[in-house]
């Protein structure tokens, strides 16, 4: 109901503000459309569930044809009230952190373009870290079956309720853009068999991009500041009860606020039938014991008529900053719990993929893809109890039908 009210309010705001500004609003145009993916996957790594991001409460289970990871449906309504004013509402249904398919508000904003080269949007918006990250659910827009999980799968707080301002300026034979955005974070996690909705988080980010005829270069940064994170309080209390200076020190280092920071540089090259996308990202999570790492991805493709074969490589490495602690043998249970906390988000995963996209009809694409995934630690891959999988090697076969309407 809140989402409906938000969407209705935004549409009303757009119309009333356009009227106040003297814009012609007598003939607004409405356009409804959508996108979807019917995706099936199969692997034979016993006891492992493959997820495409940290938000999904499930995915593709071993030795079963699974539809839960990639399948999704989005519906969008766009109202254009004048050349300067428009409003967009988009609902999306996919497997979420609760394990349900309940639709959520993916986008819901009013846009105002006060002059050429400037756009202001207010409402439910998406963060903009990696190329096409704000369209990661639109399978038809992507070359492969899914956006590279080692990078895109780590960013699930990828929506916010706030404002973004974008400026565009011709530069050389291309167009330079700068976007600044911020607001209240939206997005969830499913980690350690628990659904987590960060209570009070703020997102601030910026993106700089230059787009030319064949080459697009981009640099992006975003920081998500979370307050009220009490997930480690039990361990903190237990450590405080241990009369050892080192345990007291570790307890004092556990905070209820944290920063989750991403930075990335990327390049996209499209020349005739050939396309290449490369991304390098750095990320840091300041919550105890603090994690830092990097991710990278390369996708190369070559169009041959309706067929587009491609290869991809992705890798993520995300490590805790140490914070060793040795407790007496009588506290073995606490020692084990502490070590689990320290290692809880370690990630070392890489994947190599090969596939082909077949555009067999306008607005439809069929993709066949095989990915070989190796992970010594991964929060993306989970075991039967929902815990991170360790030392996994699997080959995932995917058949995906993408469409837009």
């Amino acid at each position: 109901m809140k989402r409906f009210l938000l969407a209705t309010g935004l549409l009303g705001l757009a119309v009333s503000t356009a009227v106040a500004a003297g814009e012609p609003v007598d003939a607004p145009t409405w356009r409804i459309g959508g996108y979807g993916t019917l995706g099936a996957g199969y692997h034979r790594s016993d006891g492992v569930t493959y997820r495409r991001d940290l938000e999904q409460a499930g995915g593709i289970e071993s030795r079963k044809i699974g539809f839960r990871a990639d399948t999704r449906l989005g519906v969008q309504l766009v109202g254009t009230f004048s050349p300067r004013w428009s409003a967009t509402v988009q609902g999306l249904s996919r497997l979420n952190n609760e394990g349900s398919w309940e639709p959520s508000l993916a986008w819901g904003f009013v846009r105002y373009s006060p002059r050429e080269g400037m756009d202001i949007r207010v409402g439910r918006l998406g963060v903009d870290i990696y190329p096409d990250g704000d369209s990661r659910h639109v399978g038809y827009a992507n070359t492969g079956a899914r956006s590279p999980v080692e990078l895109f799968g780590m960013v699930t707080q990828d929506r916010f309720d706030g404002i973004d301002v974008a400026l565009h300026q011709p530069m050389g034979d291309g167009l330079a853009s700068f976007k600044l955005y911020g607001g209240r974070s939206r997005g969830d996690f499913f980690l350690y068999n628990q659904s987590i909705t960060p209570a009070d988080s703020q997102t601030v980010g910026a993106t700089l991009e230059w787009a030319g005829e064949a080459l697009t270069l981009r640099a992006a940064w975003v920081d998500i500041y979370g307050k009220g994170d009490y997930s480690l309080q039990t361990v903190q209390r237990a450590l405080l009860s241990v009369p050892l200076p080192e345990a007291q020190l570790r307890a004092s280092q556990i905070k209820t606020a944290h920063h989750l920071t991403f930075a990335a540089i990327s390049a996209q090259y499209e020349n005739g039938p050939f396309s290449l996308q490369t991304i390098f990202g750095w990320e840091r999570f300041s919550q105890f014991p603090s994690y830092e790492g990097w991710g990278a991805n390369v996708v190369a493709a070559y169009r041959m008529g309706a067929w587009k074969p491609y290869v991809s490589y992705g890798r993520v490495s995300f490590d805790s900053g140490g914070r060793s602690l040795t407790l007496p043998g009588s506290l073995a249970a606490l020692q084990s719990a502490y070590q689990t906390v320290v290692d809880r988000l370690n990630m070392h995963q890489r994947s190599v993929g090969i596939g082909v996209r077949y555009d067999f009809a306008p607005d439809y694409a069929l993709k066949l893809q095989a990915d070989h995934v190796k992970a010594s630690d991964s929060a993306l891959l989970i075991d039967a109890t929902g815990m991170p999988a360790r030392d996994v090697s699997l080959t995932l076969y995917s058949v995906v039908l993408d469409f837009v309407f």
Partner: protein, 141 residues
């Protein structure tokens, strides 16, 4: 010898015409009142790929695709097939960035629309351009 030269001349003329016909020309057209006299390839590319929303004169652009010529136009402009262009627009459309050009069924409809609307910009076969619209860029395909 004279007869041979005439045949040779006729042959080369015919060949030239055939090549010109095969290559074809696409004209990007605007309304005469748009304030635009010519556009560069980059400006046309930015407009038709949704990167800019206003004509260089400051008039809000209404970008129009001619359905039957869409493939030829984007191939000639940015060397991309229609599947790539459709995927590109899906990306922009469903991330709330902008809306794709309106697609009209034939050149006559495009010319009518451009002639009526100050900010409209489209493309048609060069041979079809008439006085109601102004050609501001030409592409061979």
């Amino acid at each position: 010898m004279l007869v041979f030269n005439r045949y040779a001349l006729a042959f080369w003329l015919a060949l030239s015409c055939a090549c010109a016909w095969a290559a074809g020309g696409l004209a990007v057209i605007v309304n005469p009142g748009s304030g635009v006299d010519s556009l560069s390839r980059e400006e046309v590319s930015h407009l038709f790929l949704g990167r800019v929303k206003f004509l260089p004169s400051g008039v809000a652009a209404v970008v129009i695709d001619t359905g039957p010529m869409r493939e030829s136009f984007y191939r000639a402009l940015v060397d991309r097939g229609i599947a790539e262009i459709n995927a590109y627009w899906a990306r922009l459309r469903f991330s709330g960035r902008t809306t794709p050009p309106q697609v009209m069924e034939n050149a006559a409809q495009v010319i009518d629309r451009v002639a009526r609307e100050r900010g409209a910009i489209g493309y048609v076969d060069s041979a079809l351009v008439d006085r109601r619209v102004k050609a501001v860029f030409e592409l061979e395909y």
